[in-house]
């Protein structure tokens, strides 16, 4: 078992820089999730750690060993691919034992490792089947089993659940989480662009954008205290509402008026050192934090209301501004066209300067 | 990618590979290169035993001139075109119909008919020789291009149907269903929806059939004789007996005969390779 260190890691494909110098420390036994929009370099980073892509610059160390030029098979990592990459011509058992067989481990040891992994993942009944005869979730489990068998220091997952349907995805998510508890001590690095997965699985989330790290932190830390508008928008579902605003006063907090919402004013309890009166800025408020009773009240008209049972999502706009999303469990009566009032509680709102940085 | 991409190996390996490639290619094509060199040599080189050396003089025009002006080669070439082109058109037309029928519709016997086409296509064609020759003779088509064309069309239909049908199978069936829901007549679905989508397959097949037919020798010998109707493959043997032991002329003749499919291949390379895989590997 081992931690992992990236120091100024860079990657370019020919003239194109894809990773711009990433520094990251991962503790032994941590579950780290890389998130970010498509094309931001998550997979590339993961594959550099695995040794499947060459490292253009910087150092990758696993444990205390610098592994830049070490063969993938010898880094002590195991990877679970998005498409599982099971060998279709081998049975589940052969798939799982393939790595050990290739490296000449004794048969007894291999059998034991396979049995152990099969136990953990409840694959015993499937050992003699070929991948084609398995369901998506079972294939996923075999792919994980193949990783477990090799008893690696670091597990790497590249969007392992994105090929599963919604329900199965939830189930497998829980299973992976359980697995991390069971294999306590294994370091896991997990790539996804599904932020629910990130929130629920991670000890630590790494938010990437365009080859740079935007923020690193525990999931709820990112949710509660994002560094910038990008992270704030990316973490949390439904997505945070952003409202155009302008600073109108700075005493005892920052007072802004919402320029597209009838100039409604609201005072946020933040210092806002970076802002001066008259600056354009953005106010962020999560759909679930809008309140019928509390804070600066807006008058909106329902575009579409979706009722999911306990919760409702209401998409509503004022005459001037773009549509806001409101999540509420008291919205069952909202219908297209009705007008209503909703408040922004100042203590739940975030303020971002024009360049997207959080004003605290 | 397997094997390991060479650009991930050391500089020396890369250079080694790059240098090795042309060498291997030359070895691989050695016989052809030899013929190409033969074809520009003067007669004297052969009498002097200079078979494999450089040409003592460059006789391109003399040799090829004789091929074109002192033999029936031009006629044979023309025949080949007159046989190959209608065959390509005919086989493709027939097989897009059968391919469509077999690929789109579910009906009793679909698979059976499909298998009939495949099986017929793999039959050693010698078994057809006697009856087909007879048939051709009795239709008064012996030693005519038409006789050869008709047979080629029929025989190639087997292969083309296999190819077309598999290709149509790969098209999303919803396209047909969407058109049906919109009330489009079946033959219009074929013409306006399926056929335009088969363009790549048609192109690939056209190239493939062109080469097959151009290179056919057996049937040319069985169903035709003489420069009236025979294609260039048969022509080349008769050309060669005319110029027996005149290696330079035989080479030039062979090159002329081989050129059209080679050109076709180079011009339509993409389709050609697509064709081979589409048709074969499904």
């Amino acid at each position: 078992m081992a931690g992992l260190t990236l120091r100024d890691v860079k990657k370019s494909y020919g003239p194109v820089d894809v990773i711009h110098g990433v520094d990251l420390d991962i503790e032994d036994g941590e579950f780290v999730v890389f998130v970010g929009p498509s094309g931001c370099g998550k997979s590339t980073l993961l594959r550099m750690i695995a040794g499947l892509e060459e490292i253009t610059g910087g150092d990758v160390s696993i444990g205390d060993r610098q592994v830049n030029d070490v063969d993938p098979a010898e880094r002590g990592v195991a990877m679970v691919f998005q498409t599982y990459a099971l060998y279709p011509h081998m049975t589940v058992e052969e798939n799982m034992s393939f790595g050990l067989r290739m490296n000449g481990h004794p048969k007894a040891e291999i059998d034991k490792a396979v049995k152990n992994a099969a136990d953990i993942l409840q694959l015993d009944a499937l050992l003699k089947r070929k991948p084609a005869a398995l369901s998506g979730g079972q294939r996923q489990r075999v792919a994980i089993g193949r990783a477990i068998v090799r008893n690696p220091d670091v597990f790497l997952f590249d969007e392992p659940l994105s090929n599963l349907d919604a329900e199965l995805r939830v189930a497998m998510r829980v299973e992976i989480s359980r697995l991390h508890n069971e294999l306590s001590g294994s370091t896991m690095i997990y790539v996804t662009h599904d932020q629910t997965e990130a929130m629920t699985l991670a000890d630590k989330i790494v938010v990437l954008r365009g080859g740079n790290i935007e923020q690193v932190g525990a999931p709820l830390h990112l949710y509660d205290d994002p560094d910038n508008a990008f992270v704030a928008g990316f973490i949390g579902s439904p997505r945070m509402n952003f409202l155009d605003a302008e600073v109108t006063g700075k005493d005892g907090g920052v007072t802004v008026k919402l320029t597209k919402q009838n100039d409604t004013t609201i005072t946020l309890p933040v210092a806002g050192d970076s802002l001066s009166v008259g600056d354009a800025c953005q106010l962020g408020i999560r759909p679930e934090h809008m309140s019928v009773s509390d804070g600066a009240m807006l008058t909106l008209k329902v575009d579409v209301a979706e009722h999911l049972g306990s919760d409702s999502y209401i998409y509503a706009g004022s005459t001037q501004g773009k549509s806001l999303t409101i999540e509420t469990n008291e919205g069952r009566n909202a219908r297209h066209g009705t007008e209503f009032q909703i408040g922004i509680p100042p203590e739940k709102a975030f303020l971002f300067s024009a360049d997207g940085l959080r004003a605290r | 990618m397997f094997p390991k991409p060479i650009e991930k190996s050391s500089r020396a390996t890369q250079i080694g590979y790059q240098a090795f490639l042309p060498l291997v290619l030359i070895l691989w094509l050695l016989p052809l290169i030899a013929v190409a060199v033969f074809s520009v040599k003067p007669d004297a080189d052969f009498t002097n035993g200079n078979y494999w050396g450089l040409p003592s003089s460059f006789e391109f025009f003399t040799n090829y001139g004789r091929v074109f002006f002192e033999s029936d080669m031009p006629r044979y070439m023309l025949n080949s075109f007159l046989i190959t082109v209608p065959t390509v058109i005919g086989a493709i037309a027939l097989s897009s119909l059968t391919g469509f029928a077999l690929g789109v519709y579910k009906f009793n016997g679909n698979l059976l008919i499909f298998f009939m086409f495949i099986a017929g296509n793999f039959v050693p064609f010698q078994i057809l020789m006697v009856p087909v020759r007879d048939l051709t003779v009795s239709m008064n088509l012996y030693d005519t291009k038409t006789g050869l064309i008709l047979f080629h069309i029929a025989f190639q239909t087997g292969f083309c149907t296999l190819f077309m049908r598999n290709f149509i199978r790969q098209l999303p069936f919803e396209l047909v269903e969407a058109a049906r829901v919109e009330g489009v007549a079946e033959w219009r679905i074929f013409w306006y929806v399926v056929l335009p989508l088969m363009k790549p397959a048609l192109a690939a097949l056209a190239v493939l059939i062109f080469t097959f037919i151009w290179n056919d020798y057996f049937w040319a010998v069985v169903l035709t004789q003489g420069p009236d109707a025979q294609p260039v493959t048969a022509g080349i043997t008769s050309f060669n007996s005319q110029f027996r032991a005149a290696y330079h002329l035989m080479s030039a003749g062979s090159i002329v005969a081989a050129l059209p499919p080679v050109l076709m291949f180079f011009l339509m390379q993409k389709h050609f390779i697509a064709g081979l895989t589409l048709g074969a590997v499904k």
């Binding site: 695995a50 | 990618m1 029928a101 010698q126």
Partner: protein, 310 residues
Amino acid sequence: MATASAAAPTARPQRSWYKRNEIAATPWLFLIPGILFFSVYVIIPIFQSVWISFHEWDGLGEMTWVGTANYERLLTDDRKFDVSFWNNVRWLFLYLLAIPAGLFIALFLNQTVRGIRLYKSMFFFPFVISQVVVGLVFSWFYLPREGLLNAILTFFGMEPVNILGDPALATYGIIAAGLWPQTAYCMILYLTGLNAVNPEQIEAGRLDGAKGLKMLWYVVLPQLKPATFIAFVVTIIGALRSFDLISVMTNGGPFGSTRVLSFYMFEESLSEFGFRMGYGAAIAVVLFFLMLFFIVYFLYSMWRDEKGAR
């Protein structure tokens, strides 16, 4: 919106028979020309050939029923048939060498250096050229004195050989010539197959520590199975269609040692000294049964695949 209502079905008067049965009838209408052609020129002739093979017939006059006499002679005391048959067997087995050879070249060429596309197509070249030309080229290559092969052999201080003149070697010499285009064919099949190999499986293999030959054997080859299957089929077909090369390179000689069944049947059926159509047909039928083995195998695998599909 309302104006477009003409699009909705209006009157539905009595429809024609075709209209009512459009979906059932159309495939048959589409199939008729193809089936007609194919039956007349391919399917029926197969049966005719079998029929003819029980006769003695010169192609002109009356056919005389001789029962299985043709087959009896063929299988009991016809040396030419024996030679041809065993040569066919040789062709079948040795021609299969094109498969590993094609794979080898494909692996060699499966890189992305500059100009590789051109190289690939140049390597494919021999396949496009007519067998007649290939045969011719190779017979010069083998020429006993002037041939390039012997030039090379003597260069390395070896004895020259007369491959096409030696009954023990001639067939192999022709097969080698046939392997040339066939290898190119297999190569291209494998190249496209390699293109389709799942890169993630290769990467998984790398993580699992499979390298080089092990990777090839355990991970890559299984994925190339479809390509191998097709290569196998086309190679077998090619092996049984070796007529062109033989007739160009040796014309069956020396002293008939390079005959194969297809060549022999051509000789018997259309030779100078009389059309032995019945005997020729019997040879063709034997060849057909040899091939049937593979046709059935091929159809069976197709059928297995089809079962899964729609």
